[in-house]
């Protein structure tokens, strides 16, 4: 345990690939928590955006440390799909609100009125 702590303390100030990856892991976990716990559909969408950003950090970190541009192109496609997803999801949420007068996902549980 002692040696592990000293190892961490020695590792922390020298920023490398693993630092970026761990930031993205934290962001991913927070996004998953938001998706799993929030009741409002728009908060769930915010959690999804956090998860997508975490994936993008991983892509770009590996692209930088691996000297390869493919990761950045993949990140561009992720951003494109995130934009399309946000537009469609917001349109669906607005429709749900017009029909049910709520966007709480545990109250919207019928297929048809």
């Amino acid at each position: 345990m002692e040696s592990f702590v000293t190892e961490i303390v020695a590792w922390l100030p020298h920023v490398g690939l693993s630092h970026f990856l761990i930031v993205s892991a934290l962001l991913f976990a927070l996004g998953i928590y938001g998706i799993a716990t929030r009741r409002n559909a728009i908060m769930v969408l915010m959690g999804i955006e956090l998860v997508l950003n975490a994936a993008n950090i991983n892509f770009i970190a590996f692209s930088h440390y691996g000297k390869n541009f493919d990761g950045q192109v993949a990140a561009i496609f992720v951003i494109i799909l995130a934009a399309a997803e946000a537009a469609i999801a917001l349109a669906i949420v607005l429709n749900i609100y017009h029909r049910f007068q709520t966007v709480n996902i545990d109250e919207v549980s019928t297929l048809k009125e």
Partner: protein
């Protein structure tokens, strides 16, 4: 500790702390504005990783587009006048356990596998835009075209979904 490390920790703290606020805040408006800082922090991390084009794209699309859309969603789906903009939580205990497992596994994996990765040799700081444009027009041409079709479909679909139902014309 060099300047690079200090800037990294500033942006990493900004990203993770505001992501905490996004997830745990009771007020949805606070969450949306904390998401703004998360996106800016992530853009800063992109700059540190020498992805300048993607950093600018991140700010333009996420902050300028997606965040504004989300704010519109928050405003349009709540009765702002008499109800506070609150979104409750559910299943917090199982979700916390799940998230602790996910974060521990991913963090431990990343740490133990890539802790000693050498930094890439210092290169002249060239802009990545030209390289990315050439890659999109050569090796990634098919995904690029498919993405454009997807954007068109999303545009038309979202416009159709969000439109008010008009009554059928009397004939």
């Amino acid at each position: 500790m060099q300047l690079f490390d200090i800037v990294f920790f500033v942006f990493a703290f900004m990203t993770v702390a505001s992501a905490f606020i996004v997830v745990f805040s009771k007020n949805m408006i606070y969450s949306a504005f904390a998401l703004l800082f998360t996106f800016f922090g992530v853009a800063g991390l992109y700059v540190l990783l020498q992805a300048d084009f993607l950093a600018v794209t991140q700010i333009l699309i996420y902050v300028g587009g997606i965040l504004v859309l989300l704010l519109f969603g928050v405003m349009l789906t709540n009765k702002v006048i008499n109800v506070e903009l609150k979104g409750g939580s559910m299943n917090t205990i199982p979700a916390l356990m799940l998230v602790a497992v996910v974060a521990g596994t991913l963090g431990g994996l990343f740490y133990s596998t890539w802790k000693g990765t050498p930094a890439p040799a210092a290169t002249t700081l060239a802009t990545t835009t030209k390289t990315l444009g050439e890659m999109l027009m050569t090796g990634y041409l098919l995904p690029f075209e498919i993405a454009s079709v997807i954007l068109l479909v999303a545009l038309i679909g979202a416009a159709m979904f969000a439109r008010k139902k008009s009554k059928p014309a009397q004939s």
